[in-house]
Structure formats: structure tokens, C-alpha cells
Symmetry: C2
């Protein structure tokens, strides 16, 4: 029997989940829930209905795992504990500093109601976290490095759009090649913020706007750009739509460590992602973990869990025997 | 309380385990067992004894996890089921094609005696397998690529040493850059054996040997070299000892897949290792999984398991709370 998935919130992530379900023969989309008027939400899957968010509780018996696609700032801190009372849930909560607090709230709700809740699933937190854990456990003596990009930072793009005179903007975070190479060479460099990433901005200005002033406001913006080498390119709206509509991202997790009686041998463990579509890839991770959630639930487990708590075999549709034969 | 580790077999891998234990504060070396005369085996850890292999059973109560460091061809198929009757064990069985059979034998022994047995731990099988599984579960539509090297192939070095007139030899397996780049670019190439790896050999010949004949015998050797572009360098014994005494290795696991309603977005997941010492790194993986074995045993679990069955958190000495705060 298929795992029946519900999607709460139909933006880029929700749509990515819909696409990912189509690639997994053991899953089906059961329902999409939205805070908008359902009539205005057009999904891709034929024969599946869009419901108002409030209708979710009534559809409990038709959904095995509910995917929560809200934002980490305000949506998920309320939604995940709330829906964990009714459903097995998966979220992509990504505010690293607030994970312990989010975990505690979700765990209480999920344990009380007997549901499985997987939080902070995606690639960072998520796959990058897994690689940090594995690499640290294997090489206890060493240094960790995480680089992001090349990719679009939504938060930084938004910050640029708030500058007066800016009509549209996209910001790319790019790792500094020299820093990456030093890490890969086992040099264990101590890297400042400026030495790790550069920021490249593509800006469509309002007609007649003072470009010098806009550029100055961007590159000196505290927290967002002041600590980085930032480049600003002014481009036409046409060029913007043609070349900067995608949402690529990616990055690198590297551990550089040593072994031997006196630490005489060096080792580099590197994990990297190069993604054409950040939301679709994140959605694909969430869907694999939805399979794990359904299986843990079937075993009678409950409570809040993260990627650290899930044995890899739970993510795959293959049996243990198939996995050992084909992938081990 | 520390996890007390026993080492069965003190070659490169056993010595690597001894070194790795020293890097993990929650572990201690309890005993080393050898099939040689214990008097001839000199270990690094002060105050720890070397015993004959047959003494292992008598030391059952002093060892939490026994690490089996024999070879995959003949040692482990017999040793792992045998010792799983007496101990929680970890092995690095690496004959991919015979894993299902090895699993079955070990599982029966471990279940009957109530022990945990982790098999095929290391980096391939092991970490590479994990990355194949994660990447396949996340991107069900795509292609897998594994490249090995640059590194020393023990089997191929041995094969060269069997050629008459060869005194010593070392063979390096090297991924072909062009093939790696094509995979990273998402071209999904179909690669022949020759297109993926080249083989470079450093050979010390006996005095007066016919070098042309040796070279010819190497490059045309079926299974080992005939299907590859192979280079043979004749060097002096002095140069051999100076430049080719290390045992480096590594490699790349890459999955190239697509997402989207029509598979319109491409993604590359890449995992790579660059290792100064293959046996020491493998040993470090084994030791992290020994921690998992001890914890599973403490939970009352039993039977044969692989890296696929172990939740990542079990590998780390940190608590779930610490992991979520520091690494998620």
C-alpha cells in the first residue's frame, strides 16, 4: 500500500514535494492544504483536491504523513507542534540556533499524541548535518568547514529589495576558491567571513534611481554585506528575468582530520551539492524522510526525531536484502 | 564507563584501531589477539597485553566489542560467525559480491547467541555505501558513479609482484579527470572501464631482468590490467622505499539526478575521500561503529547489521541534545 502524503502550504517547497512524490512509486499525494483560497491554488496532480488549511483535521484518516511547508520564522514554530497532535509530520525548520527549543515543543506534542515528528529535514540542516556528524565521529581530531553556494540567498535578495530605488534583486553566495583549495589541501586554515564567501548581486533599479547610492547602501549594509566582498551589477528587467529566475544552490561540508599514533596521517572527507533547484532538492529530501516517518510510525514509535536518529535504510523503498546486494 | 575494545589480528588495520581508540576518550583497548607468537607482536599501548587468538574466549568478560581484522578472502567468512557467538563484533568484510552470504551466516550466529555483529564497515563498503543509499533515496531518478583513487591497490600490487623478475611493486589506481568532470557536469556519461580509471605501476626489477618483458606481462595481464591504460615505471629500490611506502587511497561517489514535474532540474551529490592512510582511516570508521555496536547491545538488540541499519547518532560520543545543538 502506498504512503499517503498531505502537503500543508503550496509554495515552491510544496510544489517540489508534489513533484518528488511522482518519482516514488510507493507514495501518493492525498491532499494539499492552503491558507489561500483553494480556488486560487492550481496543483499539478490530476484528481487530487486542494483544501483550506482548517480542513486538515477532518482528513486525518486519509493521510499517513503531513509535510509542513511553512517558513521557519513564524509558521513552523506554531504549526509543527500543532499538527504533530494530529499527524505524523515532517518539517524543514532551518533556524539552527532555535532547533533545541523547536525540538522540545514538537517532542512534547508528538509523544503525548503518539505521533512521529521529523524536524529540520533538508540539506542544511539535514544532509550537511549528517555529514558533519559522520565525519566528526570518524575523525575526532580535525576541523570542520562548511561553504555555501554558488547559490541564491533568499534573505539577502530580500534585503537588497528593501533598498529605495531597487525594483528587483537576486544575490548569489559564492565560496572563495582559494579558501576551498586550502581546506582541501589539509592546511586547516582559520578563515574570516570575508575569506570564505563572496556575494554577487544582480539589481534592477527603478528608472532614474541613483545607482551609486544604491550600490553604496548594499555593500555597506551591516550583517548582510559589510563583512563580505560584494559586487553589484545593475541589469535590465529583461536580463533579470532571462538569466536570474532559477533558484540554484549548493555547498560543501569538509572535515580535515588526522589519524595515527601521533596524528601523522591526514584525511579529507568532502561532501558537496550542486543543485539547480534548491526547493525541489529540499523537497526530495523531505519525501525520503516521509517514508522513514511512516515506517517508524508503523513500528509504534513516537516523538520528535531528526536526521541523526534515522537509520539510513528507512529512507529507501528497497528491502534490507536488496540494499545489501545492490548498494553496500 | 569506557567501551572496552579487543583487537583480533594486529596488522595495519589492527594497529590503526589501536591508534583510533587513543583518539576517543570513551574507549579503551582491553586486549590484542594474534595468531603469531604473542612475544613477536609489539603494540603501542602501554599496559595492554597481547594474547594468542585461542585465549579470546577466556577474556569474554573483559571485552565489550571485538574488532575482527582478518582478510575477507578466507579469515572473516569463518571468524565473524565464530566470534559472533561469543562477542559483539565489528568486521570490514569487503568482498561486495559475497556480502549477502556473509550476512546470513553471521546473522544466524549473532541472533542465536544474542550478540550484535556489524559487518562490512569501512569506506567501501561503508561510507561509500551510505552515500549511495542516501543519494538514491533522495534522487530516485539518476545515475550512480563510483571512482577510486588516487590510491594503492593491494591486489594489483600483489599481482605485479608475482611477475618473474619483479622484486617489489606498487600500483596506483587513478580516476580519469575527464570522466570525473563529465559526471560533475551532469552529462550522465556511459563510461567504459578504460575511461574511468588509469593504472600506474612502480616496479623494482631484479638485477638483469628483461624490463621490456616485465612491462609487457603487466600491461596485458587479464582482469588486472588488460582493460586499462597502464603505465609502468621502473625505479630503484631506494626510490621505492623513499616515495612509495605509504598506503594512500580515496575516491568519489557521485549521484547525478533530476527533479521537477518533467525532470527539468539537475542535481549533483558528491562525496569524496582523500586519505593518507587507507588502513588507519578504515580503522577509524570501525571504531566509530564499535561505539554503535556497544550501544545497540546495551539496548538488548542482536543479529547482524550493516551501516545501513545504524542511526547516525549512535556513532557519536555526544548526546542527542549536544548533537542537535552543535552539528544539526
Amino acid at each position: 500500500m502506498s504512503i499517503r502524503i498531505g502537503i500543508m502550504g503550496y509554495g515552491n517547497l510544496g510544489r517540489g514535494i508534489e513533484c518528488a512524490i511522482r518519482q516514488n512509486a510507493d507514495m501518493e499525494l492525498a491532499a494539499v492544504f492552503t491558507r489561500r483560497d483553494p480556488k486560487d491554488v492550481h496543483i499539478l496532480t490530476e484528481g487530487v483536491k486542494v483544501y483550506p488549511a482548517e480542513a486538515a483535521a477532518d482528513l486525518r484518516d486519509e493521510i499517513d504523513v503531513l509535510m509542513l511547508c511553512g517558513g521557519s520564522a513564524t509558521d513552523l514554530p506554531a504549526q509543527t507542534p500543532e499538527y504533530a497532535k494530529l499527524f505524523h509530520v515532517v518539517d524543514s525548520f532551518d533556524t539552527h540556533a532555535r532547533i533545541p527549543e523547536h525540538f522540545a515543543g514538537v517532542d512534547a506534542a508528538a509523544k503525548e499524541s503518539g505521533h512521529v515528528a521529523l524536524i529540520s529535514v533538508g540539506w542544511d540542516p539535514g544532509l550537511f548535518s549528517l555529514n558533519r556528524l559522520y565525519a566528526n565521529a570518524i575523525l575526532p581530531e580535525g576541523s570542520d568547514y562548511t561553504f555555501w553556494g554558488k547559490g541564491v540567498s533568499q534573505g539577502h535578495s530580500d534585503a537588497i529589495r528593501r533598498v529605495p530605488g531597487v525594483k528587483n534583486a537576486k544575490q548569489y553566495t559564492i565560496p572563495v576558491d582559494k579558501a576551498l583549495e586550502a581546506v582541501r589541501n589539509g592546511e586547516n586554515p582559520v578563515l574570516s567571513t570575508r575569506e570564505k564567501h563572496i556575494r554577487e548581486c544582480f539589481v534592477v533599479a527603478e528608472e532614474g534611481a541613483d545607482l551609486k547610492r544604491i550600490e553604496q547602501e548594499i555593500v555597506t549594509m551591516p550583517n548582510y554585506f559589510a563583512d563580505y566582498d560584494t559586487t553589484v551589477h545593475f541589469i535590465s528587467e529583461e536580463e533579470f528575468l532571462r538569466d536570474h529566475s532559477a533558484i540554484p544552490h549548493g555547498g560543501f561540508v569538509i572535515r580535515s582530520g588526522q589519524t595515527g599514533w601521533e596524528g601523522e596521517n591526514k584525511h579529507i572527507i568532502e561532501y558537496s551539492l550542486k543543485l539547480d533547484s534548491n526547493p525541489e532538492f529540499t523537497a526530495s529530501v523531505l519525501v525520503a524522510y516521509a517514508r522513514a516517518a511512516a515506517r517508524l510510525a508503523a513500528e509504534g514509535q513516537s516523538g520528535c526525531k531528526t536526521v541523526f536518529d534515522i537509520a539510513p535504510a528507512y529512507l529507501s523503498s528497497k528491502s534490507g536484502e536488496e540494499l545489501r546486494k545492490q548498494l553496500l
